[in-house]
């Protein structure tokens, strides 16, 4: 049972990441490969605030969102200059830069040693120390993110995003400043990813830079491509699949290190097969 709860929490974390990235890649058509950076920023914000300053977990989520939003604002400003595969490459670069800051700014992040002993959430004297209570928080967060994302994509703002994806020039002719829209959705997406990071940090109670590499961004991309671009339910489905699939390997009895590598092979092969045979993913409404 504990094991199932563990998987459910991981699922919630990745579903949030998937939804957040889908807003940028699926709905707006910007191939961003830097989501792990904002995931990491959220995780480190919570880790540092809880262990060094001792603020409340829920407050740290909000601060994480704000910090990720500020950083993503500047990254988005730069990325807005690019389109297509150059956008992908630029975002790639920011993931490497953020990772290298997490790894090398030892005074703040303790570098490769990571930050241990992150406390579990508590509010009004209620402790969410068991995994089951934590699952409730994780699922609630997923619910909130889902509702917000749903609201965004069904609003007029969301329709402009889709129009940008289909034909940016055309929507500019109608007088929309597409740069503002692209920047706004990028910042919103980063804020959502930061929530995942906060949850992750508090749940695992330990963070180190190796969780937030480019490979993690590739994994999040695999989640939304498998589930389907421009489909929020698809991202949830994709997260479910990709969190559960590697668990089968555990029952085959592979050693831990090999199992981790097998996961990467599976993600890699899934991406290739999807690109070859179903670039829309399972429930997708848009293909790259």
């Amino acid at each position: 049972m504990e094991y199932l709860i563990h998987l459910a929490i991981l699922f919630a974390i990745y579903a949030i990441l998937g939804i957040s990235l889908n807003l940028v890649v699926g709905y707006t058509g910007l191939l961003s490969i830097t989501q792990a950076a904002f995931y990491g920023i959220g995780a480190y914000t919570t880790a540092l605030l809880l262990t060094q300053v001792g603020v409340n977990f829920f407050l740290s989520i909000i601060l994480g969102i704000i910090i990720a939003a500020i950083i993503s604002f500047f990254i988005g400003l730069v990325l807005n200059k690019f389109s297509g595969d150059y956008y992908a490459l630029g975002s790639f670069g920011f993931n490497v830069i953020v990772f290298s800051i997490l790894l090398n700014w030892r005074g703040l992040t303790r570098g490769a040693l990571g930050i241990a002993g992150i406390p579990k959430p508590e509010i009004f004297g209620i402790h969410f120390s068991s995994n089951f209570t934590f699952l409730i928080i994780a699922l609630l967060s997923l619910g909130i993110v889902y509702i917000v994302a749903r609201f965004i994509v069904h609003s007029s703002f969301g329709r402009v995003l889709k129009a940008i994806r289909e034909d940016e020039k055309a929507i500019q002719v109608f007088g929309y400043n597409t740069l503002y829209y692209k920047l706004a959705i990028f910042v919103i997406s980063a804020g959502m990813a930061a929530i995942s990071g906060s949850l992750f940090a508090s749940y695992i109670t330990y963070v180190d830079p190796s969780t937030f590499t480019l490979i993690e961004s590739v994994f999040i991309l695999a989640v939304i491509i498998l589930g389907g671009l421009a489909n929020l339910e698809g991202s949830i489905l994709g997260a479910l699949f990709l969190v559960l699939l590697p668990e089968i390997l555990r029952f085959v009895g592979l050693p831990f290190d090999t199992a981790a590598q097998m996961r990467q092979i599976i993600y890699g092969v899934i991406i290739i097969l999807l690109m070859l045979y179903r670039p829309k993913g399972l429930l997708g409404e848009y293909k790259l």
Binding site: L31, I33, V78, K81, F82, G84, D85, Y86, A88, L89, G90, F92, G93, F94, V96, I97, S100, I101, L103, N104, L214, I215, V218, L221, A222, I225, D257, T258, Q261, M262, R263, Q264, I265, Y267, G268, V269, I270, I271, I272, M275, L276, P279, K287, L288
Partner: protein
């Protein structure tokens, strides 16, 4: 210190040149960012490790096999993944994402076969001769890297300029559709381009293995450097890639003059982003 920095920059530049040459060659012919390019360096390095250390074969023979093997993997990826995608008229982004998947998978396969540990390749390690130039130090291996880099560069330049094969590549770069109409077997030529580009990447991995050592994740860093060198030099332009590689080598090594060497990657990306903002077509490309 100063002359050592210059030497380090030149050696880094030579390695990045090898990666950028193959990357640019492939980009020129196919117009997509082939992200598996870096991991083929790891394939080359680990092949040599396998043939020479595990099987105990002659080291020079192992090097040749390693280069060919990296080339074959690149060729196979084109045949089974990129070529079918091109036939379906898939967008560049789909090809990019597919290559991202291939990169992730190959890197993990190497890690399973050889563990994630850092390995060294056998070639008079420890007993290497060291040369002193203007107060800077350069090892024998690094000298070999430099010489090989220059030879490959020159050979490739000659082939591209004077052979029929080179002209065919140029025609495909300009317009694949038209090249096909005038009777060039574009699929076959692009297959060869993948083989050659990947073999050069494998060679780069092998040389790095002799100089520093190999690790399954080495490819990603190399790929990024190769891509950055190509873009700042002028993407798809083979000579631009060389200039970009040396510029990157110098900026990186002088950038860490006063700060810790671990910031190299971040510095390289800052350079890329500066170029993307102010001169996205790179140094050599016109228009």
């Amino acid at each position: 210190m100063f002359s050592q920095l210059i030497l380090n920059s030149i050696i880094a530049g030579a390695i990045y040149t090898l990666v950028a040459l193959g990357f640019n060659l492939i980009y020129g012919a196919t117009k997509f960012f082939n992200l598996t390019h870096g991991v083929l360096a790891a394939v080359g390095g680990y092949s040599v490790f396998f043939f020479s250390k595990t099987l105990g074969w002659n080291i020079y023979f192992a090097v040749v096999l390693g280069i060919v093997f990296a080339g074959l993997i690149g060729y196979g990826l084109d045949k089974f993944v990129y070529l079918p995608l091109r036939r379906k008229k898939a967008s560049n982004m789909i090809l990019l994402v597919a290559s991202l998947g291939a990169m992730t998978a190959i890197q993990a396969i190497i890690a399973i076969l050889f563990t994630s540990q850092f390995r060294t390749l056998p070639l008079n390690t420890g007993t290497q001769r060291i040369y002193e130039i203007f107060g800077g130090v350069i090892t024998e291996t690094q000298l070999v890297i430099l010489v090989v880099g220059i030879i490959i560069m020159a050979t490739l330049a000659l082939i591209l300029k004077y052979s029929m094969f080179g002209k065919a590549i140029k025609a495909i770069s300009d317009d694949e559709e038209v090249a096909r109409i005038v009777g060039i077997n574009t699929d076959k030529i692009i297959g060869y381009v993948f083989f050659i580009g990947s073999a050069i990447a494998g060679l780069a991995g092998i040389l790095i293995g002799f100089d520093i050592g190999i690790q399954p994740t080495m490819g990603l860093g190399l790929l990024l450097k190769g891509v950055i060198a190509s873009i700042i030099g002028g993407i798809g332009n083979v000579y631009g890639g060389v200039i970009g590689a040396f510029l990157l080598g110098f900026v990186e090594n002088f950038g860490i003059w006063k700060i810790s060497g671990e910031w190299k990657d971040a510095i390289a990306f800052v350079l890329l982003i500066i170029f993307l903002i102010f001169r996205p077509r790179g140094i050599m490309n016109k228009q």
